[in-house]
Every structure is written in C-alpha cells, then in structure tokens.
C-alpha cells in the first residue's frame, strides 16, 4: 500500500463520512416516523388506509432504490410544475435533499413491515388489560403497545439501519459527494482503485459497527429485566 496515497485519501473520504452520516440520520429520522405511521395504518380496520399502506410497501420494496432515486432526481426534475414550485424544487432540486427524500420513503416501507411484525407480536390480553384499566387508546399505544413492539422489532430494525447506510452510497450517482462520491472522484484522479475503495469500505464497516453496537446496547437496555 502506498502511504502517500493514504494520507491523501483519508482526509477527503472523512469529509464524505460527515455527509454520509448526515444523510443516514436525516433519512432514518423521517423514515422511522413515516414507517410507524404506515404500520399503524396497515393494522387499522379501515380498508382504504390498510390498502394504501400495503400498496406503498409493495411498490417501494418491489423496485430498486436506484430507480426510485433517478425517478425523483431526474424524473421529477423534468416536470415544470415541480421546477416552478419553490417547496418541491427545494426537495428535488438539490442532490442531497433528494437523496434523503428517496431514502426516507424507501426505508419507511421496510420499517413499516418490521414494525408491523412487532405490533402483531403483542398478546391481545395486554391491550385488553390496559383498556380494562381505563387507558385511552393513545395512552395504551404509547405505554404498552409501542414500547413492546419496538423491543420485538429492534434486531430486525438494526439490519435495516445498515441497509440505509449502504443505501446512502447511491447518492453519489446524483452528484452528492459522500464517501462513495469522493472515492470515485479520487479514483479518477489517482487510479489507485484498490487502495481508495479499501479505505472507503473500511469507513462504511466502521459506521455499521458503531450502529450495530448502539442497537445491541439499546436491546440490552430494553431487555434488562431478563436474567442474564
């Protein structure tokens, strides 16, 4: 390995690391809430709501993220009503905003499936008991259903977080300079492909390691009543 190159590549890729982290945090923050809403909709008795949630999840899980991203960035960018609307153009006009939107909508679909599984795993008796105690539906959701569903869904959600981190690399295809974008630019300057992609890969592994550790800690915290 060429050390001169490492000194050149590490600071540049670290700049990309910040953006990758920001893309991840923003997409997860939006995507989680959206996914939760979709999961609740999916389990509601209203046919229209559950149908919409099911359709949403099918479409977003059935098409590649790259297609979604290009459809948002290049496809919507072509439509004049999107370009003339300042709010829509703020979202679509900028590569990073567009990437966050696409990633958030995409992860929301997967999150809704994971949370739905968690919500369905809760024994009916618990909810009945809460109602018998006179809890309102909202209070029951907040105190009983949601915390239990999260605990159940956490391991699967940890995997989804890793997928979001990996998904941010696609932002490089719409001019966003996150880790992969910088790696590609460095590659065309130095042609030291193996070294640069090895460093970039290590950065991603590092992010994912940190994320998985955090999820494990949270899991241990939520299941602290269990004998060890």
């Amino acid at each position: 390995m060429n050390f001169e190159l490492v000194f050149l590549a590490v600071p540049t890729l670290a700049k990309g690391l910040r953006l990758t982290a920001m893309l991840t945090v923003a997409s997860v923050a939006i995507g989680f809430n959206l996914g939760l809403a979709l999961a609740v909709m999916r389990l509601s008795n209203n046919r229209a709501l559950s149908g919409f949630a099911k359709g949403y999840s099918t479409v977003f899980r059935g098409t590649p993220l790259l297609v979604q991203l290009f459809l948002f960035y290049y496809g919507l960018g072509q439509l004049s009503f999107v370009r003339d609307n300042p709010v829509l153009w703020w979202i679509v006009g900028d590569g990073a905003h567009c990437a966050v939107t696409a990633l958030a909508l995409n992860t929301a679909a997967y999150t809704s499936e994971i949370l739905r599984g968690g919500l369905m795993s809760i024994p009916g008796g618990l909810v009945e008991a809460a109602q018998a105690c006179g809890m309102s539906r909202l209070l029951c959701f907040r105190r009983i259903t949601f915390p239990l569903a999260i605990r159940q869904a956490l391991p699967a959600y940890g995997n989804e977080l890793v997928l979001v981190v990996k998904g941010t690399s696609l932002a490089s295809t719409i001019t966003v300079l996150e880790i992969t974008g910088h790696a590609k630019r460095l590659m065309s300057q130095t042609y030291a492909i193996l070294e640069i992609f090895a460093i970039a890969g290590l950065l991603y592994l590092l992010i994912n390691l940190v994320l998985i550790t955090l999820v494990r800690l949270l899991e241990a915290h939520l299941t602290r009543y269990l004998p060890r």
């Binding site: 590649p64 297609v67 290049y74 496809g75 072509q78 004049s80 990996k166 690399s169």
Partner: protein, 235 residues
Amino acid sequence: MELGLLQVWEGGWISAILRGAAITIALGMASMAFGAVIGVGCGLIKWARIFPLTLVVDFYTSVVRGVPELLIIYLLFFSSVEFVARVAAAFGYEGLAGNGYAFTIAVVAIAAISGAYSTEVVRGALAAIPSGHIEAARALGIPGRRIFRRIIAPQMLRIAIPGMNNVWQTTIKDTALVSVVGLQELMRVAFVGAGSTRNPFIFYFIAALVYLAITLVSQGGFDWIERLLRPRTRK
C-alpha cells in the same frame, strides 16, 4: 405531451426495454444460482464450525454485508483484477466482447453479494433442523452422506425457501446497480433512453413498473413453491 410517451413508442424503446428486462432476469438468475452454491458451501462451513474456514467465511459475509453494493461493483469493474479475467476464461468467455465481459463481471459481483446473504439463510435453516432428527439417524446407523441427503438437505431446503425469496428480491434489485458500469440491462436502457430523449420521468417510471412486475411475479412463484413444500399436517 410533456412526458414524451410518443417518443418512447416511436423510438423503438419498448423493445429495447424488454431486451434489457430479459438481461436483468438472466443476470438475476445466474447470480442467484452461483450465490446459492456459495451460500450452501459457506452455510455448511458456518454451521459445522470447520475451524479455519469459518473465519474466512465470517470475514466474507461481514465485509460484503457491511459495505455498499455499489462500492463492491465499482471495485470489481474498475480494478484490474486478474481474478475476474481468469473466472471468465475458466468458463470459456475469453475474448468475449462488450456485453459478454460486462455480463460475466456483473454475475461475479452480484453473486458475491447474493452469496453472502444466502450463507446466512442456509446457516439459519440448518440451525433450525431439530438436532434430534440427526441424532436419531445416527442411532439407526445411517451413514453420514445419507443423513445429509435424506434428513438434512430436504428440511434445509424447505426452511430456507422464505429466506431465499428475500435474497432473490434483493438480488434482482441489486442488478440495477450494474447499470452504472455499462451493462445493457433494464436500468441502463432506461438511463440511455432518458438521456437521449430528455424524458427521464417516463423512462424511469417504466423501468420501475417492469421491476415491480418482475418482483411481484417471482413473489407469486415463491409463494406457490412454499405451499407445495409445506409438510402435510393435521388441521
């Protein structure tokens, strides 16, 4: 019309898109098949904890599952890996021009990714086989190879089907990433069409529909296989 539906029709893009879809499906199936071979091999190693090999397999699965697919594809396409050329030569693809070479590398890249996920599925399926079955077979004095063939393999297959469905869905979607390096699959055709007609919306929209059709049809197929293999139980 702003969307340019007419241009799609008149420019002969429909047939190009269908050809691209065929390449996507072929690429997905080839990668899935090689990935499954990798998955069974590595899954058995992980399950049986064959000492030095498990470390290699662990390294492989955690790197591939932790690094973005796009990065792996860039690496394989751009680096002068003699390895890929050798794989191509081994399958008699030496001197194959254009799409043939790109297709081979694409299969290597996607199969490597798909294989890592298959490994986990196979390992999980093997672990789910009740150990009593194997112990009982041993007690009856059935030789090891036959235990694998008659007891382990059939159960593993059945348990692994839903997981393999997930891997397939991921694999077919991952093939879209190969478009960034120039294989004329579905996404690439949409990409070229969007660029040359300046109607990206309609092209990516059609591409999304075709991908959706592929995933929905194959989902139906997997559901059918799953029903077929479900053990008959009392209601």
